[in-house]
Amino acid sequence: MRRIIRRREIVEDELRYAGEPAVDGSVGVVGAAEWLAASAAGAASAPEAVLLTATDEVEALAGHLDGLRWIVIEFAKIGEGRGYSQARLLRQRYCYRHELRARGALKRDQMILLARCGFDAFELDPAEDLSAALAALGTFTVAYQDGNEALVSLRRRA
């Protein structure tokens, strides 16, 4: 089973993406369009996990977030940066409180910034060493910006 980092722990993943075999207790993830269609048809039947790509507009999810327990944002390559803004909007403007996961071509180096944008779960490049990645979350103890991680923010020193 796939292992991920969630809230500073290495855990086994319960999410099941399209094409992956169903396992007991696993939760299927659907794309944004499918999720919005299901959500429009009736909140009770809508899936609880959605996968956003870099071009999905988070504004479209606004107002439908209550039934969601997982939002996964896909990073197709290391340089992909739109997910950082998507995360901040979901956390700040749209007050999304459940799991926000970064998935894709990501290493510990990106994870530090992702966490500060509000991601609390990380499905990294399979080649990445998860223990080392977890330790890397402690690389910085200070930051110049307010963020979701409990760092000393310089902006509060004035």
């Binding site: 290391i78 950082y84 998507q86 944008c117 690389t139 910085f140 310089l154 004035a158």
Partner: protein, 558 residues
């Protein structure tokens, strides 16, 4: 200047440790070249033609003597004994060994310096007016605002993987000495009708292969809102800037595609929507920052009458007099003068400086200018606060160091990228052209007669040498494996900024100086009087007379 507290110092040291780990993982093979590239780039490390190149940040160009000494020491210990000042007020080292770079960065951190975000698709060094604080024509000192932006931009979690690089320039003078109109964002300090401080904000300027002058997107932004507004611009850009084509990924393309009105609408909408979360600059915070940039303890001095004339001779300018006229300028405080240290000596690559020169210059800064220096975007250095009575002594010392070439603002004070000699992007050499021009135009009296003229040279269309905004711009192009040069005239970085116009087909390498000579002939014939600058003549008569002269005899334009 700004001094680090324990938070700044901790952040820089933690960045060094992170980069050390990243470098070790790459050297051990656990990071591929493709994975390491964006990590090393955002810490200023390029892989060049011969060796890794490291660009060290000099925030808004301001340096202490202690820092300059360290830059010299680094050149000596890690490089081949010299460094190269860039067109964005930074310094580059061209001959490093990758495995030593983490140690170099640790040394830099001991003098409150770093290489964070000097490259890569992130917010780059904040540049500003190299005469900030010493000229009478500014609204307020721009440097406190530069430092506030620098801190906000450093390791910004949301804006570290932008579509492309992002450059911000801040200026507080109507005479824009920071080329702010050709930056992704230009911040102009401004006062409203009630005298309250704020900013005019420009966006969408840039050079490169699609040069565009930035446009005003906010006439007046209150002081407190600066970072919130920048955050709105960056967020619109980060979400909607193109990522499918590296040549269309700068914010200027987004602004042009949307149109400035629609871009402005989106930014304003984002700005409003984000108010609750946007950082605010309190008066207390601005005052705290301003305190770092208080003027040095000037003595009460009288302006020396005819300060430059001491020892003058009749006729052609005496060396000191020439230096005084070209390499110094007036200061807002009586009894002081601003001194330019020319890094444009004949035979040297523009912007290059040796370790010994850096160390000696640091001593001169301590002795004559409160221990401070500035790097200019045209690749010289400045000692900003020199007592007039010490000018002759300082000049003699600079002469010995070969840093007193009296050519500031003249044709041979050209700016120039590293070009084919170092850069893996370049199509053609830049430094050899600079040398060719120096050799051809070595007669100072002729240069002085030509008056102020800005020559800017880039070895490829990425335009690191800002050729589009040179009064004379030179762009290296590759034609079937040979180096050719396209010439533009009429560009300017000073407000109002203008892009130069191409005079015609590119010329072969050996013909560049001859071509410039023809342009200058036309200028000297056509100018109304000696006060009409080359740029003004071009603006008045257009490019045709210049074209006719350059191409009248067919020397094989292709």
């Amino acid at each position: 200047m700004y001094r680090y507290d324990s938070i700044d110092q901790t952040l820089v040291e933690e960045r060094v440790a992170q980069f050390r780990d990243q470098t070790q993982r790459f050297l051990a093979g656990s990071l591929s070249e493709e994975e390491f590239r964006p990590l090393r780039l955002r810490n200023g490390l390029y892989v060049q033609r011969f060796a890794p190149m490291l660009r060290v940040a000099i925030p808004y160009g301001l340096l202490s003597s202690r820092q300059l000494r360290m830059l010299g020491s680094i050149a000596r210990r890690y490089d081949r004994g010299y460094g190269h000042f860039t067109t964005r007020q930074n310094i580059q080292y061209n001959w490093l060994r990758l495995e030593q770079v983490p140690d170099l960065l640790a040394d830099l951190a001991t003098v409150e310096m770093h290489a964070i975000q000097t490259s890569g698709n992130c917010i780059r060094n904040i540049t500003s007016d190299h005469l900030a604080g010493v000229v009478p024509d500014e609204i307020a000192d721009p440097r406190p605002y530069c430092e506030l932006i620098r801190q906000w931009a450093t390791l910004h979690p949301e804006f570290s993987y932008l579509p492309r690089k992002f450059k911000i320039a801040v200026t507080a003078s109507a005479r824009d000495r920071a080329a702010s109109e050709v930056h992704d964002v230009g911040v102009h300090l401004k006062r409203d009708a009630d005298g309250a401080l704020g900013y005019e904000i420009l966006a969408g300027g840039g050079l490169g292969r699609t040069p565009i002058i930035g446009q005003v997107i906010r006439d007046f932004l209150p002081q407190a809102e600066l970072l919130g507004y920048l955050e709105a611009i960056l967020r619109v850009y980060n979400r909607h800037g193109r990522r499918d084509n590296i040549h269309k990924a700068r914010i200027k393309i987004l602004v042009r595609t949307l149109g400035v009105q629609e871009f402005r609408r989106q930014v304003e909408q984002e700005f409003e929507a984000n108010r609750e979360f946007a950082p605010q600059l309190s008066e207390v915070e601005v005052a705290r920052m301003r305190a770092f940039f208080e003027p040095p303890p000037y003595e009460r001095l009288e302006n020396l009458p005819e300060a430059g004339r001491a020892g003058a001779q009749v006729g052609a300018l005496a060396p000191f007099q020439a230096w005084y006229r070209y390499n110094t300028t007036s200061h807002r405080v009586s009894g002081y003068r601003v001194v330019f240290v020319s890094l444009k000596k004949h035979g040297e690559a523009p912007g290059d400086i040796t370790a010994a020169q850096m160390e000696a210059l640091a001593d001169l800064a301590d002795r004559y200018s409160f221990g401070m220096l500035r790097a200019t975007h045209d690749q010289n250095l400045v000692l900003a606060d020199v007592p007039q009575r010490a000018l002759r002594e300082l000049w003699q010392a600079l002469e010995v160091l070969e840093l007193a070439t009296p050519n500031i603002g003249t044709l041979t004070d050209m700016i120039c990228c590293p070009g084919l000699d170092f850069c893996s992007l370049a199509n053609a050499g830049s430094i050899p052209i600079a040398k060719q021009i120096h050799a051809r135009f070595d007669d100072l009296d002729y240069l002085y007669d030509l008056g102020p003229i800005e020559v800017k040279m880039s070895g490829c269309m990425n335009a690191c040498g800002h050729h589009h905004i040179g009064h004379i711009g030179i762009l290296g192009v590759d034609k079937h494996g040979k180096e050719w040069y396209q010439i533009t005239i009429g560009g300017s970085s000073a407000a109002p900024a203008a892009l130069g116009e191409v005079i015609g087909p590119s010329v072969p390498k050996e013909a560049v100086a001859d071509t410039i000579a023809k342009l200058l002939e036309v200028y000297l014939e056509e100018r109304q009087d000696e006060h009409e600058r080359f740029l003004d003549t071009v603006r008045r008569i257009g490019v045709e007379p210049f074209q006719e002269r350059v191409y009248e005899t067919d020397h094989s334009p292709a």
